[in-house]
Symmetry: C2
Subunit: 287 residues, 2 copies
Amino acid sequence: MCATTLTDENGRGFIIPIGGGEDRVKEMQIHSKFVELSGGADAYIVVIPTASMLSETGEDYNRIFSSLGAGKVEYLPITRRLDCDNPTFFEMLDRATGIFITGGNQLRLSAILGGTLLVTKIRRQNAAGVPVAGTSAGASIMSEHMVAGGQGNESPAEGTVTLAPGIGLTNAVIIDQHFTQRNRLGRLLTASSFNPFLIGLGIDEDTAAFIGPDNVLEVVGSGTVTVVDASKLTHSSMWDAKPGEALSLIGLRLDVLGEGCRYDLKARVGYPPPQFLGLSSGSDTDT
Amino acid sequence: MCATTLTDENGRGFIIPIGGGEDRVKEMQIHSKFVELSGGADAYIVVIPTASMLSETGEDYNRIFSSLGAGKVEYLPITRRLDCDNPTFFEMLDRATGIFITGGNQLRLSAILGGTLLVTKIRRQNAAGVPVAGTSAGASIMSEHMVAGGQGNESPAEGTVTLAPGIGLTNAVIIDQHFTQRNRLGRLLTASSFNPFLIGLGIDEDTAAFIGPDNVLEVVGSGTVTVVDASKLTHSSMWDAKPGEALSLIGLRLDVLGEGCRYDLKARVGYPPPQFLGLSSGSDTDT
């Protein structure tokens, strides 16, 4: 993990978007690291299963995080906006040392949670140092500008992506999940190119970006995080393209980051895993 | 089209990889431009339908190119290596002013044509100024290093792509087709990163790259050509990744080029369509 951790009391907590489909039965590497960041045996993890229609989702995560050694796990059974006024839930979030948002439908999440005091609590806790993780829809909703929907398998074009406001834990990135599996490069390029200040994060299944308080992310999991930096575009046809017409985007930077790679969201620079930065002897074995 | 055309007698002919699934019934923009480059009413177009198992493919293209005003169109009924020794076919290729390679299976193409005098004839004709177009499998086979197969829907990883020798009209690029439609970014990134001198061209369906004698390509069609330049990679885990492990590739350049965009394969620079290079007044209309 990055050098800065939850013990840095001046920093916000980690923001941990996960690309969905993460390993929940074998090594559970991503969930393990989240539990560790949340305090391990001292952790009190609160799960928000609202994106899912499945009543068992909350219980599932209780079982997973408990099996990984989390001290205490509870979920908030929020299925409608009125639930977001429940003072018991506020009190639970105030005590949380880790918050986890499950997958499902991100518009369900934003439509039910958006503008409520509950979201304010989540933001305040994250700002105070509590890590917030989310998978699939729960990953998308973390940023200020959220990919709400759109088509995979398409070249970049204005109509391929729909944006909506997310819960705004960060405004540095816009997140897409199930990235390679659902062929979402076109819609992420479109989303990033609407306003190139946004860095696009395309997160594969069973893969997570652990975004530290220093805005350096580290990749954990079996797939990759594709980082799209559109800020150096020398040409974009965004404002000129006809509806449905394929966009031209010249000058994109792309980093494909596997396990252990890092990316500095402020400097917009990717780094290999630490072992490639030192003077390693390497291997000259023929293969 | 680019300024340099077939009338430049010092140059080779255009190389025109097409991403498959091109419009054959409406405007037939790509085929029209190929017929025009081949000489229009004076054209003698020779079609190589070998990649396809369908006996009617050759006849189909005869009909299409004739309907677009080509003077004469014939196809070579090559289905096995022995057919490649037929002197009648050599004579037809010697007179050709345009050569078209159909889609199908590129390994069928390379296994039947590879190493025969027929391929030498195609190369010599292209070097002498004759445009050669190919669609789908016929596009892949044009380059020295050919994408022979592999998986779509995958992150870059060594096992996701199989290379084989193509017919070598160019060694500047490696070509993949049905690009967005079949989610082939991962395998093209892998292919380009094996040896980053290769520029990866990911060509969408109904889209073509008209590569001129000056090695500047121009995009024609309804989709995009994605240009991958791996030459500025600051880190690649290619030599170190375990089998099946997702690759890390830091420092990729990516251009997504729609209709009218150009790319200079020597300078590795993309350009917008000409109207964006002049002092156009633009439109300030609110939308």
